[in-house]
């Protein structure tokens, strides 16, 4: 089939558009297709890491009802939308991590096999992180104790968790001041 625009090259790109039930077909060669601005995708193969990441995200989103809503989620600080992030594969600022938290956690698990940092901590965050890691440890212990029906010890752990949580809350608010 020849390209329906230039009638010279072979048509290698076939596009079917259905708008309000009206079907239109386009058969184009690469050069003519590139000139079509409304065809919003690049024909040059670009296998950069960032594009790959984007598709990794896209794949998990496809078919989901929330996908459309999620794409519009926007970082309040740098205005990057989730749709833009999935396209470029890079975050815009540190607040993006909070804004896209829900989608990032599974993505990070897929990349790293984990979504929790266990390494170095800057000195000014040390206290908070140590408490958070401790809290997590206590909660896991509590779960095990309850499972084993060792309620007395579980109660002790629960009190320690409560105390630690209160401590962290106070520490957190005093830091924010």
């Amino acid at each position: 089939m020849l390209c329906q625009e230039c009638q010279q090259e072979n048509a290698t790109i076939h596009i079917t558009k259905i708008i309000n039930g009206r079907k239109t077909e386009l058969h184009l060669c690469r050069r003519c297709a590139r000139a079509h601005d409304e065809l919003d995708f690049s024909f040059e193969p670009q296998f950069s890491l960032h594009n790959l990441l984007g598709s990794l995200l896209g794949e998990s989103m496809r078919g989901s009802r929330e996908a459309l809503g999620t794409a519009k989620v926007q970082c309040p600080s740098c205005a990057l939308t989730f749709a833009q992030f999935s396209q470029i594969g890079r975050l815009g600022c540190s607040d993006c991590f909070t804004a896209f938290d829900e989608q990032l956690t599974p993505l990070l698990r897929r990349i790293h096999g984990s979504s929790r940092h266990t390494g170095k901590v800057p000195r000014r965050n040390e206290g908070a992180v140590r408490s958070a890691r401790e809290l997590e440890k206590f909660r896991e212990e509590l779960r095990l104790k309850v499972q084993k029906e060792e309620f007395e010890e579980a109660a002790g752990l629960r009190d320690r968790i409560k105390a630690l949580e209160k401590e962290m809350e106070e520490g957190g608010s005093s830091e924010a001041k």
Partner: protein
């Protein structure tokens, strides 16, 4: 005036543990500054601000950063920028595309701190031989120094925040540059290196992402940056590297036992070509340098040492050739200049011993 010798970087020394197979060990940690968008989204004023923040932080700590030079990328001539890339002191991105990019470079060229790369800060340490722990320790020290002056973007569960999700957590990428001629000659490399991806490591050629393996030089690095501590990451990579070294050494022994004369012939011929050829592509030069290196490591060949071989690896690169020639050279002219430079280096070496 023609500079006779490129300044040698620390990694080119050819010293350090396992120097027979490991050319260099590299560690880089990615950091960002809280409250400023990552470089690719940051405004001109913001990236400029980042540059100032970091240079001020360094300037205020004379004892730690006294040995460093501050190099704004814009201030460098194009060939100087490329030379930094060829010496592995700057990433190609920082040298060519960054906005207000800059480099804090220690005088021995073992430590380079990249400013406004993909992240605000990338602290890089390259040491000769297998010295991953030492490199991490150095990088960690400078990180501590900078953290005292700069508020890093850090999240309690995600760790250090980076522009690309593949760097989040520790922000640590560690790699080793290996010379694996015997594994490649005996056709075992693909199987072995293929297995590395299954344990979360990446394999690349000499000049990073997407570059092919030339001159039997292979770079292995960690992929995972989150959920493991820095020490665990380094220990994993170091452990796997030791296994690869063992396999390479075993294959070298096999080659030596079966084909000693052939191997020696191949190395001496390679040295002959490096000395007397008149036209040489960079690919040919890299293969010849590998052949000579193997002969030297097996004790069959004299007249070179590892430092010279490492310096020659950089000398044959385009920017280095053009700086040495003192003018711009097209690819054909470079192929003529390359053997000239190699000859000069070999002669200088001969006079020095």
């Amino acid at each position: 005036m023609k500079p006779n010798k490129i300044v040698s970087s620390r990694w080119m020394e050819g010293s350090g543990p396992e120097a027979e197979t490991v050319i260099s060990s590299r560690v880089r940690i990615a950091r960002n500054i809280r409250g400023i968008p990552f470089p690719y989204l940051a405004s001109d004023a913001q990236t400029k601000h980042v540059q100032e923040l970091v240079s001020r932080a360094a300037a205020s700590q004379e004892e730690a950063f006294g040995q460093f030079t501050f190099l704004p990328v814009e201030s460098l001539p194009p060939l100087e920028k490329e030379l930094l890339v060829e010496k592995h002191l700057s990433s190609p991105f920082l040298a060519r595309e960054s906005q207000h990019g800059a480099l804090l470079l220690r005088c021995d060229e073992a430590v380079s701190i990249m400013i406004n790369e993909e992240d605000h800060l990338r602290i890089q340490v390259i040491l000769p031989g297998l010295q991953l722990e030492e490199a991490l320790q150095e990088a960690d020290g400078y990180d501590d120094r900078l953290e005292g002056e700069i508020d890093y973007a850090f999240d309690e569960s995600y760790g250090y925040l980076t522009a690309c999700p593949t760097n989040v957590g520790t922000g640590l990428r560690a790699s080793v540059m290996l010379h694996l001629p015997a594994l490649i000659m005996t056709g075992q490399a693909n199987r072995l290196l293929g297995a590395l991806s299954q344990v979360g490591l990446a394999v690349r050629g000499l000049y990073g992402e997407g570059t092919e393996i030339i001159g039997n030089l292979v770079q292995i690095s960690n992929q995972v940056t989150l959920g493991q501590t820095e020490k665990e990451i380094i220990r994993n990579l170091g452990g796997v590297t030791r296994q690869v070294i063992e396999q390479e050494q075993a294959s070298r022994q096999v080659l030596l036992n079966e084909n000693r004369a052939r191997l020696a012939d191949r190395s001496w011929r390679a040295l002959g070509l490096l000395k007397y050829a008149q036209i040489m592509s960079s690919q040919e030069a890299m293969q010849l340098l590998s052949d000579v290196r193997l002969g030297f490591d097996l004790g069959m060949l004299k007249g070179v040492d590892r430092r010279l071989l490492n310096e020659m690896l950089v000398t044959i690169r385009p920017a280095c050739l053009q700086i040495a020639a003192g003018r711009e050279l097209n690819p054909q002219e470079r192929d003529l200049e390359r053997p000239e430079r190699l000859k000069t280096l070999l002669e200088e070496f001969k006079e020095s011993v």
